[in-house]
Amino acid sequence: MEDHIPAIIVAVPLLAALLVTGLWWFEQRLLFFLSMIAGVISFSASARLLLKILESGTVEYRLGGWAPPFGIVFRIDHLNGLILVIVSLVSLLNLAGTRTIAKKEFGEKLGPFYALYLLFTTGLLGILLTGDAFNLYVLVEIASLTGYALIGLGKGRAPISGLNYVLMGTIGASLYLLGIGYLYLVTGSLNMTDIARILPSILPSNVVLMAFILCLSGLFIKMALFPLHSWLPNAYTYSPSLVSSLVAPLTTKVMIYAMFRITLTVFTYDFAFDSIAVRLPILWLAIVAIIMGSIIALAQKRLKKMLSYIIVAEVGYMVGGFWLGNREGMSGAILHVVNDAVMTLCVFMAAAAIVYKLEDDRFSALSGIFRKMPCTMAVMVVGGLSFIGVPPTCGFFSKWYLLMGGIAAGQFAFVAALIFSSLVNVILFFRLFEIGYFKPYAKEITHSQSHADSYTHSITRAEAPFDLLVPLVMTAVLLLILGLFSGEIVTRVVQFAIPRFIG
């Protein structure tokens, strides 16, 4: 069983999803526990796998017993080992918080909700494990399809935002598929390391360049890099609250991982960074993404929409950091993938708690919220400080690496954009905190003395349910732990994820 851990990571949530669907028609109470068991098994298997990679290097797992390139293989090295642990942990933490809220929001469709949740997690874990280019497409599609369904069930503008997401996401995945088709046409293989072996003998080639651009464009649409980001704000704002705290931290980060994998393992560093001139245009796209994301976030009046535009800016950080091309920049990008997943989970889960209690997330409704939900807002403060980049939260360390990388590469526009975005985050979050402390005086004045009860009610606690608070607090603690151990993570894991010859 020990050797088959990679297969267990992805097979257990899949089988659990099927079991949940079957069981839901008969018995409704066990669904949550089944899903939690599957999540825990998956997380512990990923942690075990990461420890194995740290001691013995890259793990290759052959499916069906066939050697590559004739069969599909899992190829897990330091990069995806680390992200596997974080993705399964984020999914598990969010799942732990769904118990009461899911019953209220989805009621009669609880079984399909958990099944779609587990299938979404399976798709993401599969993307992280695979070493085959076409298999990546199939898993991207399964994660996307379940994402579309989960997002589409919100109220209000959810169906039209969901359909917009479907149309754009399908173009993205189809462009990626076309790129893989071009690669297959000229190399004859689908395995990632095998393509990398064959490519040097056929370069320079227009077809390979076109394949690279198509694959990257497809992934850019999926990760919502400006200007292809238009699906993201609406989709995340109007989706049900616990769905946005699942989809928002994970989808874009895993697509960014796919970009890392395609660029470093399939097309190799020499081709992507040195032979062709795409490095600077993509870097400028990232800089524009950071600036525009921050500016548009300033204009928002709803909490979740503001957070969604902050995500657009964060995507710019990671894409820009990677395409700087030097060791600090790439370390910063990889570390930021890990940190951003946890930060985004933190703030979106807090927003989910707020929406659950108040039914409204516009800033005008958030006055006095620090009195009503102190615990939730404390977690939101930690998350906000992490986005701003205050030590010892983890956001500071990844931003530090990105800044160092930008300075070392001489890209001062990128450094300026990072600093600008940090300042904008300060404004955004401190504005939120100020609104939260402001007491609703206007209401109390109109109450007569006999309505003394309602006066006290307007500032009594209406805290989030307990089983949402526990994962919230755990996430905030995780942010601090990740920050304190950033140095360890970089020297023991991230360093080996980047090819050795990069200076």
Binding site: L163, V166, I171, L178, Y184
Partner: protein, 134 residues
Amino acid sequence: MESIESLIIAKYNYWAVIVLLMVGLYAMITKKNLVKKIIGMNIFQTAIILFYVSIGAKKGATIPIIMHGPDHSSHAVQAMDYINPLPHVLMLTAIVVSVATLGVALALALNIYSQYGTLEEDEISEKIMKSEPG
């Protein structure tokens, strides 16, 4: 550059695929009706499927099912006699994925219709503007 006619005959499958891709993309961008956009998405995916399948063709080869002799003896199998099976396998998956996406898109379109009463994008935007002041 070889003679133009051999170029056209030898590569017109790729050009047909490119034309279909552009038709699908044009439909997705310019049409206002949501169902027409969904059809454009389907045309886009179908064009990519055709591209892959046309990669696998070989002149003078037959379908990739190994023909048995009457005594079930295994005689040498020549790769040149059979067309490439791998693109067909990949496209079985892609067809299933496109059908699944179509199903989800139509389900969302049904929800939109029951919510707004129309499937034209500009009318839906108007209704959203009216119901959400500011």
